[in-house]
C-alpha cells in the first residue's frame, strides 16, 4: 500500500467510524396516556406559572409539557378535572403563548387547589402565594385582558376577578388598583 493510499484509507475510515454509530439508540421509551387523578402539585420552580417564566415546560410532573395541545383541551381539562391538572394545562398554555386569560386561569386553579385542602398539594402556603402572584401578574402584565363565554362573543374582563381573587386569598392588591361599584351595582377593578 502506497503512502498516498494509506493516507486516503485512514481518512476514510476515520470519517466513517463515528457515523456508523449514528442512529443506534436503544434507549427510547414508549408514550402512553397519563392518569390525571393522581397528579400532585409541587411547584417545580419559584416562578412556575408566572409570566414570563416557562419552567412549566420542564416540569417532570406536568403531563402536558410535551404535548401538542388541542384547541379545546384546556377547557376540557378545566371542566372535567380538578384544579391540579387544570393548573398544569394552563401553565403550559401560558408558557407557550402568554395571555392574560392563561395567567388568570393559572391563578384561579392555584387558588382553588389551596382552598380545597387537597392532600396532593405539597406546600399549600406556597401555592396560595403563587396564586396571589398569578392574579397580580394579570393586573400588572395583562390589565386589559379578557376571556370569552362559550359562544366566543361575550367578553369578560379579567382584572376584576383577579383583584377579587387576591382579596379572597387574603392577599393585598399591589399597583394602585381599586375595586369600585358601577352604576348598575357591579364591582369593577380599576387603576386610576
Amino acid at each position: 500500500m502506497t503512502k498516498r493510499t494509506k493516507l486516503l484509507s485512514c481518512s476514510f475510515v476515520a470519517a466513517l467510524l463515528p457515523v456508523l454509530a449514528a442512529g443506534c439508540s436503544q434507549d427510547a421509551t414508549f408514550y402512553y396516556g397519563d392518569s390525571l387523578s393522581d397528579l400532585r402539585l409541587s411547584l417545580y420552580t419559584d416562578d412556575e406559572g408566572i409570566h414570563p417564566d416557562t419552567s412549566a415546560l420542564e416540569d417532570p410532573m406536568n403531563p402536558f409539557a410535551d404535548s401538542a395541545l388541542g384547541p379545546e383541551t384546556k377547557w376540557n381539562i378545566q371542566a372535567g378535572e380538578g384544579a391540579i391538572p387544570a393548573f398544569y394545562v394552563w401553565a403550559t398554555v401560558l408558557a407557550r403563548e402568554p395571555t392574560g386569560e392563561a395567567q388568570y386561569y393559572v391563578g384561579l386553579n392555584l387558588g382553588a387547589a389551596y382552598l380545597s385542602g387537597d392532600s396532593r398539594v405539597e406546600d399549600p402556603e406556597a401555592v396560595r402565594d403563587q396564586a396571589i402572584r398569578a392574579y397580580q401578574t394579570v393586573l400588572d402584565e395583562f390589565p386589559d385582558s379578557v376571556t370569552y363565554d362559550a359562544t366566543g362573543t361575550i367578553t369578560y374582563d379579567l382584572a376584576t376577578p383577579a383583584y377579587q381573587g387576591i382579596v379572597g386569598l387574603g392577599g393585598t392588591v399591589q399597583g394602585g388598583w381599586f375595586l369600585v361599584t358601577t352604576e348598575n351595582g357591579q364591582k369593577r377593578a380599576v387603576k386610576p
Partner: protein
C-alpha cells in the same frame, strides 16, 4: 578604493582611484512625517531599508548625485550596498559630541570640549568608528562634527540666528579636539580624506592653527546664491579644498506665504555654477571640490523638533539676507522644514512614503551632466550651461506631480458613488380585490451615497448611505427596500391605520479591506461574499452570501462580519466572525486551516455560535439552533481523479435533549391513539452529533462522473452544498443532519452538446413526526399527549430538505463556445455564442412528508407551521438560453413548468409555468416575466401558498451606457405589472360576488435612475 586630494597649478581636486571627481553630493536622510531626529531607518528590517534605498538612491543616481552624507550610525554594509548598486559614495560624519555624547556611560547633553574625559570619550569613539568603516567599499570622506562652532555657547539645539559673539576659549578647545581627531583618523586610515564640518568660515584661523593635516575644509554654508570670498579665504588661510557640507535654499517664500520651488532651484543653480567655476583650472580660486546639498527631503520635524511633527510648519526661524527673494528686513525668511529637494507624502502603514522631486532636482539633473574636469569645460562653457537652465522650465514636472499627489491625498476620503432613484407609480385594481377601485398615484425617492476612505493604498473602506424621501404606498409588491421601518409591510394596507414614520436614513452597505504582508482583512455589511466550498469547507459551514434584491426587500442585515485570511506563514488560515456571516446565521466565529501535503489537501474547521440570532425577518433566512461544529476534510487529487472524505461533529449542545419519534405498527392500524404509530421518546446522544461524507470525482475529458455519499447523525448538520460539481445540476446534497444520502451523475460531451444525468437518494434516519391529536378521556381521567410535526424552533432536529427522496435529473446543455462556460452565474453577459441554452428535467419521488417549516407573522414574529403538505412527487422542467442573434442584440432568459409544494402547511399542489426574458439592444434594455399560476414574489407567498393565475412584469429602459448585470447605471425607464387574482391570491376578497370570480390589479410607473 583610494580617495585623495591632489594639487597642481590649476588648484586642488579630489581624485578617487586617480579620477578627478566633483562631489555632487546630497545630505540624505529618511524620516516619515510624524517622526523626528530620533527616527532611525537603520533599525528597520532589511527589506524595508532596501525598499527605501532602491527608491531614493535610484532617484539620486538618475540626478547625477555621486555622494551622500550620512552620520556614523549607518551600518557599513549599507554603504557598500548603496555603492555597489548605485555607484554612490558615502561620507561618514562623526558628530564629535555636537548634540551630546555618552561619557563613561552617562549622556552629557552639552559637551565641554575642554574636559579631558569628554575629549577622550569622543576620540575613542571616533577611533572605533574609523576601525569599523575604513575598509568599507563606498566610503568617501571622514567628516567631523556638524557646526560644532555654533554650539559652543548655546544650550539649545534649536537652529536660531547665527551667533553674535564668539567664545574664543571654548573654540580653542573645540579645534584642538578636531586637530587630535584628524590625527587619530589619519593614523588609522590614509585612504579617505578627512574634513571638518564647520559652521561657515567661523574660527577659520583656529582651524588653521589647530587642525594640522586637515585634507578638506567642510563648511555648512548658507550665503545665498554666492559664497562670495569663501573659496579664496579657505585657500589662502588653510590651503585646502573647500567642500560645502551643507548648502542650498528652502522652497518656501516666507514673504508671500507659499511654496516657491522655482526660487529654490534658482539659488541652487547659481550655487552649483559657482562651485563649478571655483574648481581647479577655471581661473578662480581653484579649490572647490563640490558640495552636499541640504537636503534630500523636507524635515517636517525641524521646527519644534518634539512637537507638531506631522505639520509642515511654514514658520521661518532665522533671517538671512543672502536669500533676497523673500527677505524682509526685521523678519525671518529661512524655512527649516522646506529645504528638501523633494517634497514627501505621509507614509503608509509600513512607514514608507512617496517623494516628489522639486524643480531643482530636474534642473540639477541637467546641470550635473557637465563634467567639471573635462578638458573642454571652460568657464565660458560652465556659464553657458548653467545660464541655459531656467528653473521655470523644470517647474512643470513638480507642479504636475504635486497636483497628482494632492489629488491622491484627496482620494483618501472621497465620494465614490452616488445615485438617485426616482419612481412614479399609478396602480389600481378591479372591484374583486382589496385595492381601492380608483387608481392611486404615488412616488418614491431614494438616494444612495457612497463614501470611500482610503488612508493608505492597502486600507480601503466604503460606506453607502441611503436616504428616502417619499415612499409609495400604492405598489402592488408592497415590500421593497425603502419600506424599511414599517412595523408590518406584509398584508393589505388598512386605510384606517395611522401613518408609520419610516427610517429615512440608513447604512445601505459597508465594506472594509486591509491588505498586509501577513494577512488580509475583509469586513462586510450587506455586500456579499463567496462560500469556502472550493477550499476545503466540505460541510458548508461558511456559506455564500450574495443575495441580490431579496436582501433589500426584507432589509436583511447580512452578510455582516469580518474575515481574516492569512498569508506567508499564515497561508491557509482563515477566521470569520460576525453577527450574521450569512443571512439567518447566528452570531458566530468560524476558523479554517488548510494545508497541502503533496497531492493531498487537509482542511480543519471549527465553528462556534456565540448567541441566538434575533433579527431574522423572513423565511428566506430560517432561524437556526445555536451550534458548535468541527469538521475535517481530506482531498486527494491524482490525475483525472479526486477523492474527498470528511467528518463533522455538530451541535453537541443538543445532546441530552428529548425528542419524540414514531414507528408504524405492523398492521398500520391501532397503536398510539389509533394513529397507526407507536410513539417513543428518546434523547439526543453524542454519536448523533457525528457525520461523514465522501466524494469521488473523475474528469476524463469528454466523459466525467462523480459519486457522493454521506451519513449524518441526527444533529450533525452543516450547510447546503453550494459548489458546482462538473456541471450546474439542480439537485445537490442537503446539509442537514439526520440523513443517509447518495448522489451520482455523469456528463458526456458530444460536439457542442452535453448530456448530464444525475440521481439523488436520501433518507432521514428518524422520520418526520406525524400530527397526532391529543385526547382527554373524562371518564377515566386519562390524558394522552398530542404530537405535531417538528420544527427548528422547538426541536433538536427536523426533516425538511433531507426528506426521503429519490430524484432523477437530466440536464442537456448546448454551448458551441465552451470557453465562456455556460454554467457561469453571469452567463447572461458573459456568454458569446450565437445561441447557447440548456434544458433541465427534474423529478423527485417523495413518498413521505417532512416536518414543519417556519413562517413569520405580520409582526415579524416567527412561528412554526403545525404540519407540512402531504407526501407528493413533483417534477420541474427548466429551460434557459442566451442568444447573441445580431450585432448589438442579446436575448437571454428562462422558461419553466413544474409542480411545487408550499413551504408552509397548505396541502394544495401548485402546477405552475412561466418565463423571464432579457433583451438588450445597445443601451436599451427590456426585461419581462410572464408567470402562470405561480406564487407571488415574496417568501410569505410560498409559505402560505398564495398564487396568482397570471402575473406579468415588464420593464423597458434606456441608459447612458450598455446595461451590465447587477450594475446600477443611469437609466430612464417605464415599468408595468399586471396580475389576476383568485381565491388563492393575496388581496382577493373573502366574499367575492361570485364563486368563480377573479380580480385584477395593475401598476404602471416610470423611473429615473441617475448614477455616478
Amino acid at each position: 578604493m583610494v580617495a585623495r586630494i591632489v594639487r597642481d597649478d590649476g588648484g586642488m581636486r579630489l581624485q578617487i582611484d586617480g579620477k578627478d571627481t566633483l562631489v555632487r553630493g546630497m545630505n540624505w536622510g529618511y524620516s516619515p512625517i510624524g517622526t523626528n531626529y530620533s527616527y532611525s531607518l537603520w533599525s528597520k528590517p532589511d527589506a524595508f531599508i532596501e525598499r527605501v534605498l532602491e527608491r531614493d538612491m535610484g532617484l539620486l543616481r538618475d540626478m547625477g548625485v555621486n555622494a551622500i552624507r550620512l552620520f556614523s550610525d549607518v551600518p557599513p554594509k549599507w554603504i557598500t550596498w548603496i555603492y555597489d548598486r548605485f555607484g554612490i559614495f558615502t561620507s561618514v560624519n562623526h558628530l564629535m559630541g555636537r548634540y551630546g555624547f555618552v561619557v563613561n556611560g552617562v549622556l552629557v547633553p552639552h559637551i565641554d570640549y575642554n574636559n579631558p574625559a569628554h575629549r577622550k570619550a569622543i576620540l575613542d569613539d571616533l577611533q572605533a568608528k574609523v576601525d569599523s568603516y575604513k575598509n568599507t567599499r563606498g566610503l568617501l570622506f571622514w567628516l567631523l562634527g556638524n557646526e560644532n562652532n555654533y554650539g559652543l555657547t548655546w544650550t539649545s539645539f534649536e537652529i536660531e540666528a547665527l551667533p553674535g559673539k564668539e567664545d574664543a576659549a571654548r573654540a580653542e578647545s573645540l579645534y584642538t579636539l578636531f586637530g587630535e581627531a584628524i590625527a587619530r583618523v589619519k593614523g588609522r586610515d590614509t585612504n579617505h580624506p578627512v574634513a571638518i564640518v564647520n559652521g561657515d568660515a567661523q574660527y577659520i584661523d583656529l582651524v588653521a592653527k589647530h587642525c594640522k593635516g586637515l585634507d578638506v575644509f567642510g563648511a555648512n554654508v548658507y550665503r545665498g546664491s554666492s559664497a562670495r570670498d569663501l573659496f579664496d579665504k579657505v585657500r589662502t588661510t588653510l590651503g585646502v579644498p573647500l567642500l560645502f557640507t551643507e548648502f542650498g535654499a528652502d522652497a518656501y517664500d516666507a514673504k508671500a506665504g507659499h511654496e516657491d520651488h522655482v526660487a529654490q532651484a534658482e539659488y541652487l543653480r547659481a550655487q552649483w555654477q559657482e562651485i563649478y567655476e571655483q574648481t581647479s583650472s577655471k581661473g578662480r580660486s581653484g579649490n572647490a571640490i563640490g558640495g552636499f546639498i541640504f537636503q534630500w527631503d523636507d524635515g517636517w520635524w525641524k521646527v519644534g523638533q518634539e512637537s507638531n511633527l506631522d505639520v509642515h510648519d511654514t514658520v521661518a526661524t532665522w533671517p538671512n539676507q543672502g536669500y533676497p527673494k523673500d527677505f524682509v528686513e526685521g523678519q525671518n525668511n529661512m524655512n527649516e522644514e522646506w529645504f528638501g529637494l523633494v517634497s514627501k507624502d505621509r507614509s503608509d502603514e509600513n512607514g514608507f512614503y512617496e517623494v516628489h522631486p522639486r524643480s531643482a532636482y530636474y534642473l540639477l539633473r541637467e546641470a550635473f551632466k557637465l563634467d567639471a574636469y573635462a578638458p573642454d569645460t571652460t568657464p565660458t562653457k560652465i556659464r553657458a550651461t548653467f545660464e541655459r537652465l531656467s528653473a521655470r522650465d523644470f517647474a512643470v514636472y513638480y507642479n504636475a506631480e504635486n497636483a497628482l499627489a494632492q489629488t491622491a491625498a484627496l482620494g483618501a476620503l472621497r465620494i465614490s458613488g452616488a445615485s438617485m432613484d426616482l419612481g412614479m407609480y399609478l396602480s389600481g385594481g378591479s372591484e374583486r380585490t382589496l385595492r381601492p377601485p380608483s387608481a392611486a398615484f404615488d412616488h418614491t425617492e431614494s438616494f444612495f451615497l457612497d463614501v470611500t476612505l482610503q488612508p493608505s493604498p492597502r486600507v480601503t473602506g466604503r460606506v453607502s448611505f441611503n436616504v428616502i424621501g417619499n415612499v409609495a404606498a400604492n405598489r402592488l409588491d408592497r415590500i421593497f427596500y425603502e419600506t424599511r421601518g414599517k412595523v408590518s409591510p406584509i398584508g393589505p394596507a388598512n386605510p384606517d391605520d395611522p401613518p408609520i414614520e419610516r427610517d429615512r436614513l440608513a447604512i445601505y452597505q459597508a465594506e472594509l479591506s486591509v491588505d498586509q504582508p501577513w494577512f488580509r482583512l475583509d469586513g462586510f455589511y450587506r455586500t456579499g461574499h463567496y462560500h469556502w466550498g472550493n477550499e476545503g469547507d466540505f460541510f458548508s459551514l461558511y456559506r455564500e452570501a450574495n443575495y441580490g434584491p431579496s436582501l433589500d426587500r426584507y432589509n436583511g442585515e447580512a452578510p455582516f462580519g469580518v474575515v481574516f485570511s492569512g498569508k506567508k506563514g499564515l497561508e491557509g488560515l482563515k477566521l470569520a466572525i460576525g453577527p450574521q456571516l450569512y443571512w439567518g446565521a447566528n452570531p458566530t466565529v468560524i476558523a479554517k486551516y488548510r494545508r497541502e501535503f503533496g497531492p493531498a489537501a487537509v482542511t480543519a474547521m471549527y465553528q462556534e455560535d456565540l448567541a441566538q440570532a434575533s433579527n431574522v425577518r423572513t423565511s428566506s433566512a430560517t432561524p437556526q439552533l445555536v451550534a458548535r461544529r468541527a469538521t475535517v476534510h481530506v482531498n486527494v487529487a491524482s490525475g483525472n481523479w479526486q477523492v474527498g472524505v470528511g467528518g463533522i461533529m455538530s451541535s453537541p449542545q443538543q445532546v441530552g435533549r428529548d425528542f419524540t419519534f414514531t414507528r408504524a405498527t405492523e398492521s398500520g392500524t391501532g397503536g398510539y391513539l389509533g394513529s397507526g404509530y407507536e410513539v417513543l421518546k428518546d434523547t439526543v446522544k453524542w454519536f448523533d452529533t457525528l457525520g461523514g461524507k465522501a466524494k469521488i470525482v473523475y474528469e476524463g475529458g469528454l466523459f466525467r462522473f462523480y459519486v457522493e455519499g454521506q451519513l449524518r447523525g441526527l444533529v450533525a448538520g452543516g450547510g447546503p452544498d453550494e459548489t458546482i460539481t462538473l456541471t450546474p445540476w439542480t439537485m445537490r446534497g442537503s446539509g442537514l443532519g439526520n440523513q443517509v444520502s447518495g448522489l451520482a451523475g455523469f456528463t458526456v460531451n458530444a460536439g457542442s452538446f452535453q448530456i448530464a444525468p444525475n440521481v439523488l437518494y436520501q433518507q432521514p434516519l428518524i422520520a418526520p413526526m406525524p400530527n397526532i391529536a391529543d385526547r382527554y378521556d373524562p371518564a377515566s381521567g386519562t390524558y394522552s399527549a398530542g404530537f405535531r410535526a417538528r420544527n427548528v424552533l422547538a426541536d433538536p432536529f427536523v426533516v425538511l430538505d433531507n426528506r426521503e427522496t429519490l430524484g432523477g435529473e437530466l440536464l442537456l446543455i448546448y454551448d458551441p463556445t465552451p470557453a465562456t462556460w455556460y454554467g457561469s452565474w453571469d452567463r447572461e453577459t458573459r456568454e458569446d455564442a450565437k445561441l447557447a441554452g440548456s434544458i433541465d428535467f427534474v423529478y423527485r419521488h417523495q413518498p413521505t412528508v417532512r416536518d414543519a417549516n417556519i413562517g413569520f407573522l405580520a409582526t415579524g414574529t416567527p412561528f412554526a407551521f403545525d404540519r407540512s403538505p402531504p407526501a407528493q412527487d413533483v417534477w420541474d422542467v427548466t429551460g434557459t438560453w442566451v442568444s447573441n442573434f445580431a450585432d448589438a442584440w442579446r436575448l437571454s432568459g428562462s422558461v419553466f413548468v413544474g409542480q411545487g409544494q408550499a413551504r408552509g402547511a397548505d396541502p394544495r399542489l401548485v402546477t405552475r409555468a412561466g418565463g423571464t426574458a432579457r433583451l438588450t439592444w445597445n443601451k436599451a434594455l427590456f426585461t419581462t416575466s410572464l408567470l402562470f399560476n405561480d406564487w407571488g414574489p415574496f417568501d410569505y407567498h410560498k409559505d402560505f401558498n398564495l398564487t396568482y393565475p397570471f402575473q406579468w412584469y415588464g420593464d423597458l429602459s434606456l441608459g447612458m451606457s450598455l446595461p451590465v448585470l447587477n450594475v446600477i447605471g443611469t437609466r430612464l425607464g417605464f415599468r408595468w405589472q399586471y396580475r389576476t387574482l383568485d381565491a388563492f391570491s393575496e388581496g382577493f376578497p373573502e366574499s367575492p360576488p361570485a364563486a368563480d370570480a377573479s380580480g385584477s390589479e395593475y401598476e404602471v410607473g416610470t423611473y429615473m435612475r441617475v448614477s455616478l
